[in-house]
Each structure stands twice: as C-alpha cells, then as structure tokens.
Subunit: 271 residues, 2 copies
C-alpha cells in the first residue's frame, strides 16, 4: 500500500479539481470524462465524506460549466463549486473597483452587477481566443494609464489540457501584463490561500481534515499543501512525468487517476 | 549647459535608436518623422562623426524598413543598420537550429536561407497582430515538446509608441512563453551586450568613444551603459517622465529630442 494511504485517519472532506481530473475539456461535446471519474464522484458522495469542487475554470459562468458537467454524466451542483469569478466579484465590490474585463465571452455575465464604466482595474481570466493582440493591447493601455495600476488575475495556471492538446492558460497572459506594466497581479483562484480557505469554510472542515486531488503540481498540490491540507496528484490531464521530480512541490501521493485515489480513500474510511 | 555636454571630448561615434527617436511608427504612411530628426541625421553625417542605427525593429526586413525611412525623408542605408534578425540568423546557423518563427509576416524573408522543417527552437519577434492566441499556443506546444526548449527573442522591449498609441512589444510575449515553459529566453537585440558590441565593431569605435541616443531607458540607455558607452534619453517616443527617476538606470543626459542632442554634440566637436 502506498505510504500516503496509511495516513488517512481523520479525513473528513475531499476537494476535487475539475479539468484534467474529472474530464478533459475541449472538442464538440465540450469534453470527455476521464474513465472512472463519474463513478468516483458518486462514491465520494455515498461515503459520507464532504465534497467540494475547487476549480480555476473561468471560460464560463458556474451555471453553464456545471450544466456541461451534468450532461457529461457528473453528479455535481452549482453550490458545490468554488470558482474564481464570484470571489473576484466580492473583492471588486468591497474595494469599489470598476473592472475592464479580459475574459471569455461566456464568463461576462458573472460580472453583470458591477459598474464597468471608466475602469480603474483590469480583470483577466482564461480568455482563450479572446487573447488577441488587440485585446491584450487594450487591457495594457488601460493599466498603464492608471496612476495605481491594479491587475486581478483569475488564476496563475500555465496551461491546461484539452482533447486536442495543451492550451495556454490565464497565468501566461497575467505574466505578460505584469511585465508590460511593471506591476504584480493579485491572484484570485488557486493557488491563493484565501481561495482554498473559502472552499474549506464552505465545507466546514479543517485543513488537516481535507485532501485535495488535482492534476496541477503547483496550483492544486502546492497551493493546498500551503494551506495545511494533504494533496494528491493524478496522472491524468496536464500531468507530466517530470512533475514527480518538481524542485519545489512534492505531492503526498501520486495516483493514476481519480478512481484509484477515491478507491483507496474510501477503503481506509471503513477500517 | 547640461553636465553631460561638458564631457564629450573624445566622442567619435553616435548610435541612434530609430523608432521613437527618428520617427513615430504607425498610421497610413508607416509613421511620422519627429520634428528636427531628418536634419539631425544629416548634421551627424556632415560632422565627420561615425553613425550607426541600432534598432530592435523586427516588423520588416532591414531592406523594407530602410526604404520606409527613406520615403519619410531620412538619409539612411541598409548597411548602416544593426538589427536583431540578421544577428539571430548567424546564431541559428552556427548552432544548427531550425526555427519555428513567431514573427511579423514581413520579417519572414530574413530567415529564407534557414531550414525550418521539424523545428528545434522558437524565434519570437515583434509579431503584432500575429500574436494571436492560436499562434502563441502553437509556439508554446513546439517549445514544451522539445527535450531542451530553446527560445530566442529578438528583443525584450515592453512596448513602443505608434501614432495611435502604445503597443505591446516582443518582450511581453517572450515573458509569456518563458513562464508557460519555465525557460529563459536568449535575447538577441538591445539590451544584449553582444548586439551593441557588434554595432561598435561595425563602426570601428571603442565604447568610451561612442554615445547612444534612445527613447527606452532600459534597453537603449541601460544596455549601452553596460557596454561602457555613454547614453542619452530623448523625451520623445515612448519616453515617460517617470523614466528620469528609474530605480536602476540613470541616463548620462536627458534631452527633449534628437535635434537638441545632436546640436549640443556637434557644437562640442568644434571647440
């Protein structure tokens, strides 16, 4: 038995990344479930463990995103999902910020309630094809024109995997704007501590009672560990073998996929 | 008289940045000369000083670029210009590298002589509208698929000024790919030491005999100073008042424009 599996006493909650763990996004139907993941989610729910989906997905509103996952066969509800856009909205409101949005068209409705005239900050999400030269330049001009440039990024991921290959993620364009304007972005979403903490609060479990499962060694595994959680990396999604020799982050365990992780966790519960 | 003007004894050569010093690029005719700059170039040539144009321009071949400047009224020849693309070609040939090009369409002919099949490196220039999500993603996938990813960047500038406003430069996309692939780009062009040194060699003057004039505090002024040259910043092009309080780079002098700089330099020659 793997070392990590021997130390699961006290686990009360599981946090799951979605893209690359439950499914690979992209293609006609919006993605393909990773074998065994639909059943693994059911198994967690049946086990009595608390469950929270913790995603940096910003290509759609939570409603649309969850509807897609339901169509793919997953037992998932909107209020089980922690995502960056609603967290960013709270921050923008608190600080009276009027955002210029460089995000995916389908995410725009999440910001409907905010004043966006005469922007005094830029919010950047995974805009995919909206990351044109024209659009990035527009965001840059707004930022460089502000006396106090504020850049809020809905994540700092480098890339993710879709059915047709790897795709650049929001973090890459965040770095581009940081360099262009000599600013430091404020990151909402994984690996930000506050983001994991709000997911834990919504589950009502303590960090040491929770285990995160993700395909991103830095943002999922490293982020969760920094909050005091345990974290597993799955060998699906954007996983690459060199992740297991990452210079800074070491997962508590590596598993072939979500199904394997859940089998082991649930088995230990009944011991 | 400004302090820098008192210490010009021994100056034998002038290096001029082009965009933002000679002209502001963009718009219908390809740009607008900065008042007094056409005459300033003539004045340097008439003075007996050696002259070299030292540009990070990578939106066109040197031939096309120089033809545009001639149409605008400048006395300039192709063999007076030091530019990154020919320097990059030499490096690629020496190291048997087959580039994937992410550059402006008009720059592609500079790389005609190189084998580009089955690329083993990525060369990035100021691609402007070619910096689409699709194209950046393509370059990323090639890089991340290489065992030893080599990224060569034709400059590290943040932005430049066109007639209709500031535009993101190649350095921003270089940073994006560096972050995406966790690599460090090799920069050809200003502020690389080798680039200034080859311009000095072409002029046959020593660094301490040369003065660089540019609008970029880091890449023109800082780069030239690191090679042992003196350097002036003009208050045209991308110049911003806060440049004069730059935390790391202090120009030997600040002048309103090229005409003012050349007037002072030439006047001192005759003393």
């Amino acid at each position: 038995m793997a070392e990590w599996a021997k130390q699961l006493a006290g686990i009360k909650g599981v946090l799951l990344d979605i893209s690359g763990v439950l499914y690979d996004s992209g293609g006609e139907g919006g993605g393909v479930p990773i074998p065994g993941s639909i059943e693994a989610v059911e198994k967690i729910k049946a086990s009595g463990l608390k469950l929270r989906f913790c995603t940096n997905e910003t290509q759609a509103t939570r409603g649309k995103f969850v509807a897609k996952l339901q169509r793919l066969g997953f037992n998932i509800l909107v209020n089980e999902v922690t995502a960056p856009a609603p967290a960013a909205c709270r921050i923008l409101k608190e600080r009276n910020l009027r955002p210029h949005l460089l995000v995916h068209d389908d995410l725009v409705p999440e910001f409907d309630q905010l004043d966006k005239a005469n922007p005094n900050c830029v919010v950047i999400g995974d805009a995919a094809d909206n990351f044109s030269y024209k659009n990035l330049n527009e965001a840059f001009r707004i930022l460089i024109g502000l006396e106090n440039p504020i850049l809020i990024s809905l994540g700092r991921g480098r890339y993710y995997k879709e059915t047709d290959g790897l795709k650049l993620d929001v973090g890459v364009y965040m770095k581009a704007l940081e360099y262009a304007c000599d600013v430091q972005a404020e990151v909402v979403g994984k690996p930000a501590k506050m983001f994991f903490q709000s997911a834990l609060a919504e589950m009502e479990v303590e960090p040491q009672q929770a285990i995160m499962i993700g395909d991103d060694i830095v943002n999922d595994v490293g982020g969760a560990q920094q909050c005091g959680m345990r974290a597993l990396q799955v060998r699906t999604g954007k996983y690459r073998p060199c992740d297991e020799q990452h210079p800074e982050v070491k997962a508590d365990g590596y598993v072939n996929n979500l199904a394997e992780a859940v089998d082991i966790i649930v088995k230990q519960l009944h011991k």
